[in-house]
Amino acid sequence: MNTATLDAFWIILTGALVAVSGGLLGCYLLLRRLSLIGDAISHAVLPGIAVAFLITGSLSSVPALLGAAVVGLLCTWAIETVQHRAGVQGDAAMGIVFTFLFAVGVILVSSLAGNADLDQECVLYGELAFVIFDQTVWGMPVSTAILLANLLLVIVVLGVGYRGFFLTTFDPAFARALGFSTAAWHYVLMSLVSLTTVVSFESVGAILVVAFLVAPAAIAHLLTDRLPIMLLLAALVGISASAGGYFLAAALNANIAGAMTVVLGVEFVAVMAVKKVGVRMRPRVPVASGT
């Protein structure tokens, strides 16, 4: 492979890693009607990331990553407190908490001005193309390696806890009766979302992570009723968006993560269109009349 192809490979792979982690977690978020919590967390980790930068100078160390991820968890806790303790309606509780944390984050980032590694724009959309300038570890760029480790963690936790996640998602009351702690599984899921948001930050920024948490799962949800297939489809959708986004961005010489999001949007519209047409073309099955 020549360098250009190799670069393309690393970029697409890195994007795909973000998309697959986000897609898998997104399925559970979607089914639990928590898609917007993903949105809130992804905004709210910003102060965590800024402080991690302030202390360690980069995000490529495990303590910094974990520290930043804790802020995401704090955000879910704060939303629940504002909602249940203070009695603010759910959507507003979320809006107040995450905008506040994001504002604090932006202020911290501004006070770090001059720190070349973290500026306001990368907060919003990151830059996948910079992956190839990373140092390498195990023969791959550092960001890619971190994202790979994160994806493995996500797969292992979702795999080991499959039964618990499944039950607490679809039938929380039954799960509780069987002795599963719905709160514990909720926070495990939120920890994974938080961690994924933080590790994806440098590649796709804090906002576009939302696209990967919501869009692949939404597309997969339109296509199937079965969770394993939904997870698989979400992953495939994510991978194809990564590849498609790379080429779109290359054609326009623009931001890759943004292009991936646009591809996800196009995929969604395509699936909706096919479903609509499919519904119209399906022969009407006569309804058996009651006897």
């Binding site: 932006v106 306001q120 959309y125 939302v210 949800h221 931001n255 943004g258 996800l264």
Partner: protein, 431 residues
């Protein structure tokens, strides 16, 4: 660092630059807060967030087509794409199985991603005039120009004017859309108008606080104001006042510290108002509710002690006998400290008297004890007569109700039961 003198100098608005920033942010803040009240009450807070993210591609496209970054050119583009996002959310909700939250997240992120794609595309074309575009991402209140003030002023007046004109209709729409429909209001068109005004507020506000924080300008003032009042008129004014003060203070911070962004500081101050309201607002705030809870718990504790003494007197057939604290403890397991404290407070309220032989009910205490026993027994009787519960199942419920039943309810109960003399356990119902 922060001196009063500087604050006064700032508030005197003698520097034109300060004037632009303060007027601009205050106008935007008030307009968003006013319209945000209805977004908040209709539980559509996060739709505002989606609209805010979704205006980015419109701004970029308008720039690409027109090649200028004056607000007059960019606003229509922003308005159109914000609108399109709103329609997309509704369309997805109606035409797919996706839940509203997923639809909002999807539209928000895809529109924003498209905006980022276009923005970076514009940036690499190297057009010199594009540098201002990214101000829309984070807002750049410091860059407000006199020309922008006109835009803010006109849209602000338009927004507030229309809200004032349709205040009654919007209120009805927010609280009871079904009723609004039933009385013949054009609900669909009013919703359309309200959504359009929201988009308009978002589009103008983005310049000062940026796409992400715009949602806060809509939601947070309303949420904070809600803690202080139940009246929508007062809520609108209070929300607007919070937004205005936060805008001034936020501008002041970034005036003091030039590298500090204005928008995020406005939001931090605004959130501060909201958090303060959550904790300290009378009535709805956290402290007030804790206080109410504690007061009620204490009232129950006192009433239980009084009842225990009354019961003991009843079984002895002598309400004049003194009763020691240990004997009260024997009637019901009180915590010793709480028992001592409530004996003391009951004594101070004149419900108990104390002499060397112990505590006994005063005249008023006797009446109060009898009242509690009466309510308890009436309720037990009511449950057995009307709900046909077994007499051994009604005590616990009555134990809770005796603290809650008002004199009016008591009278109704008595009348409904035909002024009974005996309860289901064949005890006297005291008069």
């Amino acid at each position: 660092m922060l001196s009063l003198q500087e604050l006064l100098h700032f508030l005197s608005l003698s520097e034109p630059n300060i004037r632009y920033v303060v007027f601009g942010t205050v106008m935007v803040g008030i307009a968003s807060a006013v319209i945000g009240n209805f977004t908040f009450l209709r539980k559509r807070a996060l739709v505002g967030d989606a609209i805010a993210h979704a205006v980015l591609p419109g701004i970029c496209l308008a720039f690409l087509l027109q090649g200028s970054r004056t607000l007059w050119v960019l606003l229509p583009g922003a308005f159109l794409s914000g609108w399109l996002a709103l329609l997309s959310i509704d369309w997805i909700n109606r035409n797919s199985r996706l839940k509203p939250d997923a639809a909002i997240g999807l539209v928000l992120s895809v529109f924003f991603g498209a905006g980022v794609l276009l923005l970076t595309y514009i940036q690499q074309t190297g057009d010199g005039s594009q540098s201002g575009l990214k101000h829309f991402l984070f807002g750049q209140a410091a860059a407000i120009l006199p020309g922008d003030l006109w835009v803010f002023g006109i849209t602000g007046l338009l927004l507030c004017g229309l809200v004032a004109l349709f205040f009654k209709e919007f209120t009805l729409l927010s609280f009871d859309p079904d009723f609004a429909q039933a009385v013949g209001l054009p609900v669909k068109r009013l919703e359309l108008l309200l959504s359009t005004l929201t988009v308009l507020a978002v589009v103008t506000g983005i310049q000062t606080v940026g796409v992400v924080l715009m949602a806060a300008l809509l939601i947070t003032p309303a949420a904070a104001a809600r803690f202080w009042t139940d009246r929508i008129g007062a809520m609108v004014f209070l929300g607007a006042a919070f937004a205005a003060v936060a805008s001034v203070l936020g501008s002041f911070v970034s005036y003091q510290q030039p590298n500090m962004p204005t928008g995020p500081w406005i939001i931090v101050v605004l959130s501060g108002f909201a958090f303060f309201s959550m904790v300290f607002a009378p009535g709805r705030g956290g402290l007030a509710r804790l206080w109410d809870k504690a007061r009620h718990a204490w009232k129950m504790q006192e009433e239980n002690v009084l009842k225990a003494i009354y019961h003991s007197g009843e079984s002895l057939g002598d309400f004049k006998a003194g009763m020691r604290a240990e004997a009260v403890q024997g009637q019901r397991a009180f915590r010793p400290f709480q028992l001592q404290l409530s004996l003391w407070t009951l004594q101070r309220r004149g419900l108990l008297e104390r002499d060397p032989s112990g505590y006994r009910l005063s005249g008023e205490g006797l009446r109060e004890g009898a009242r509690l026993a009466r309510i308890h027994r009436l309720w037990e009787l009511y449950l057995t007569e009307y709900l046909r519960l077994a007499p051994d199942h009604v005590h616990d419920d009555a134990e809770a109700m005796e603290h809650l039943i008002t004199p009016e309810l008591e009278a109704q109960l008595e009348a409904a039961l035909g002024y009974p003399k005996r309860d289901p356990h064949d005890r006297d119902i005291p008069r």
